[in-house]
Symmetry: C2
């Protein structure tokens, strides 16, 4: 493909994308394809000869697009939103053209420097404590996902603990090593039973134990200080070594917000426990000052992570991780062979983000963030958050108008409504009918939503953060859910 062929193909792609978004609301949100559909229509081998873009694009249109789930659709109400936006798409387009595995500063100085700047901008705008800014000992780094951020901080926490809390007590290398080997199998990370499974997976990867602390509806499923204190005490009684905590600002199932100040208080005598905030979804709301009270206590935490790629208009991936002490990451992840040495890095004047993450290489992701920040401005981002929140509340109110059919399971937060369908006949449970309604809706593919359990109860989760969402689309979604629920309650 020569430059002029690319120009024609790319213009046509731009038109295709414009049409895609103009028709997004009419598209069936979930694909009709069956497992294995694509294998049946594509050849078994790579083509030998170059093919024309027209042929490739025709197949793309016929075989690939029908197999997509449309996350940008206002009918996508599952999991959490995963926004994209036009300035973000432009950023990815340029990033692919300037492609580089920009593992250190000299690899492409703008990639590193813009990242530091936009992450500082974001931290300030979200009202994060100043320890997370790059100007003193902390700073931000773009990770691929909130799950990667948990692994990254947990590995750094593990190594910091083994060094500072264990090895430092012994004088010789041999004694240090023996003590570390003995301690490694006793390390334990804490979360609540509402925390995203990423922390459990991170514990598997880091090779440590994992304890999920039970939460209760009377606390809105938040992890509290006393519950953590009790869990730490019980773990210590068993000879375990608490070293890490994931607290959540917006849990997956119900958007619970843990009690950060209480958690900080409960761990004040445990300076070696790394306290991480997973604000993957909820963190986006902090762009509006009225939500920043949630951060109370986070000034005592070691790290904080939120995904711009969920609700903040930047396409996947753009997980923004902040740490109090960047040295903790560098101590855990820095390995510098001769071929990675260079004058700029040796000078100590630059950041080499490869030492702040698991992979070596990294894409130019700051560009799309910068484009989005400037194209929307703080006001545009706040408007997006408040608008979609309002749509969530609109849906919740509709659910409340039919207390004969629906029961709200947890207080709505960050636009998420979690509800059950009420049984209409004896012998049937809310769990049964709720599951039946959810399954039928997802099978009919008019909407896409998530069924999950909260405290053993089957619930339906509904949330939108799509820039294409409207009150009207949400009213239609409600009416459809109501219709299905009423029909299922009659059968």
């Amino acid at each position: 493909m020569d430059p002029e062929e690319y120009r024609r193909a790319a213009y046509a792609s731009v038109d295709y994308i414009v049409d895609y978004f103009k028709t997004i609301t009419e598209r069936q949100v979930v694909s009709n394809v069956e497992p294995g559909y694509l294998r049946q229509v594509l050849p078994n081998e790579m083509p030998q000869e170059p093919e024309s873009w027209d042929d490739i694009h025709n197949d793309f249109d016929r075989h690939i697009v029908p197999g997509l789930t449309h996350w940008q659709s206002p009918k996508f109400l599952a999991w959490f939103p995963a926004n994209t936006s036009f300035p973000s798409i432009l950023g990815e387009h340029y990033s692919a053209a300037f492609s580089a595995p920009a593992f250190n500063w000299i690899c492409s100085p703008a990639v590193t420097e813009l990242e530091t700047i936009v992450l500082d901008w974001l931290a300030k705008q979200m009202g994060l404590p100043s320890q997370f800014l790059s100007d003193v000992e902390g700073g931000g780094v773009i990770q691929g996902s909130a799950s990667e951020a948990v692994v990254t901080t947990m590995v750094a926490a593990r190594d910091r603990y083994l060094r500072d809390a264990i090895a430092s007590k012994y004088p010789t290398e041999e004694e240090k090593e023996t003590a570390i080997a003995a301690a490694r199998g006793k390390l334990v990370a804490f979360t609540s039973d509402q925390t995203h499974s990423a922390t459990q997976k991170a514990a598997l990867i880091a090779g440590v134990k994992f304890i999920a602390i039970k939460t209760f509806p009377e606390d809105d499923y938040a992890l509290t200080g006393p519950a953590l204190a009790k869990a730490i005490q019980e773990a210590e009684e068993k000879g375990l070594l608490p070293f890490y905590l994931t607290a959540s600002l917006g849990t997956t199932a119900v958007c619970a917000v843990d009690k950060f100040a209480e958690l900080a208080d409960a761990t004040k005598d445990y300076p070696h426990i790394w306290k991480h905030v997973d604000a993957a979804y909820g963190g986006a709301a902090l762009i509006c000052p009225e939500f920043q009270h949630y951060l109370d206590g986070v000034e005592y935490f070691d790290s904080f992570d939120m995904n711009m790629h969920k609700w903040l208009l930047v396409n996947f991936d753009a997980s923004c991780l902040y740490v109090r002490r960047r040295k903790d990451l560098i101590d855990a992840f820095s390995v510098t062979p001769p071929y990675l040495r260079n004058e700029a890095s040796d000078s100590g004047l630059v950041i080499d983000y490869r030492d702040w993450q698991i992979p070596l290489g990294r894409r130019f992701r700051a560009l799309k963030i910068w484009f989005v920040m400037r194209a929307y401005g703080v006001k545009g981002m706040q408007e997006h958050i408040r608008k979609t929140l309002g749509i969530g509340i609109h849906f919740m109110k509709l659910i409340q108008t039919r207390a004969d059919v629906f029961s709200i399971a947890t207080p709505p937060r960050f636009g998420l409504t979690v509800f059950q369908v009420l049984p209409s006949k004896s012998g049937e449970t809310a769990n049964d009918i709720t599951k039946r309604v959810a399954d039928r809706i997802n099978n009919e593919k008019v909407l896409f939503l998530t069924a999950s359990t909260v405290d053993g109860n089957m619930c339906i989760r509904v949330v939108t953060g799509s820039p294409w969402a409207t009150d009207k689309a949400m009213t239609e979604a409600f009416e459809y859910i109501l219709k299905v629920s009423e029909e299922e309650r009659r059968t």
Copy 2:
């Protein structure tokens, strides 16, 4: 930005990208900016109001592009190439528009299915052993980088070892746990001293020991079977537990290829040692049958990884990891909370790639791979590899014409030439003059190359894989290197 504003901005971006590539050879390959340059020209805070695309793009052109290092330039001869291509850029563009954190099949069926298909295509075309195809117990998965692939397989290897080689010997849960805790601190991963530092970093992350086995110039710096057998024996004598090996198909410093068949033989009595091939750069050459003899012995290996994003025309990231038994990955990485359950996954008919990797979410990266495979075809890809290899050999021959000034340090492979500048006066070493020449070249920024040490000797590495590379550009590069070398030898 509304759809029509996007259309205008995107058309203009396409034109900008076309101009960028049309002028790529004239651009200074490394940026002139000083550390901190961008902080001085950008504001300290995110803008409050939305800004116009014209303003944003003007700043992009004035402040960001001058801070880029041009990896696609034929003057970029450092590290390894990191190709992009027009079909790849188109794939990223669409991927950003259809953005989704496609962690399971139903998230967007095409994302998963196309990935399985293109990775099978690639495996067949590279001549990989059939155990790595998806149709039996193995399969491929796109990772972000070769370093991530090493961590992923090492964690799976660690857990497989602890389960199969340790825990399985004990009847009770308590005994199993005690044995695992005792074994964990004794696990050791092997590489050669030429292997990329990613394996050392992975060992830090996985919390295991790491031994780099010395290689020798008489073996072309390849890791041999006898050397591995000796290292395993010595480790066992110290009470360590060998569980993982990274063998390389093209090491970073000199492109050495380890002796896979010998390594398989040396580990034949150690079924629990996971054997991984890191073919990050060199793997691309396997698209040409004349290089597939290098794979001899790989049929005994557990995993194989190569980066299409280095030399195979797909922009970063696209690291293609193959495993013999996908169950090994799933055992290590699968955690399924209720909110991730769905009918398709429960049916067992689909792949959920989230269980084959560290992060949960994943981008639609198979699309760009498919576009590239079809736009180039096997023939186009082979032509690209053979052409850039030829340019590398052209450079090597030019170096050989001046045996009075240069000395080739290691046999050239995969287009990489590693050489020293010879000293011209007594008291000066080849190391001194080679370093001086490399530093001056990188400071003058006419070319960008890597200086590294091989067996304690300072060497210059020169390699290109750029689709924009030509014999003419390489001749100019040689003449410039010769000029600088001659001047430095005179001073």
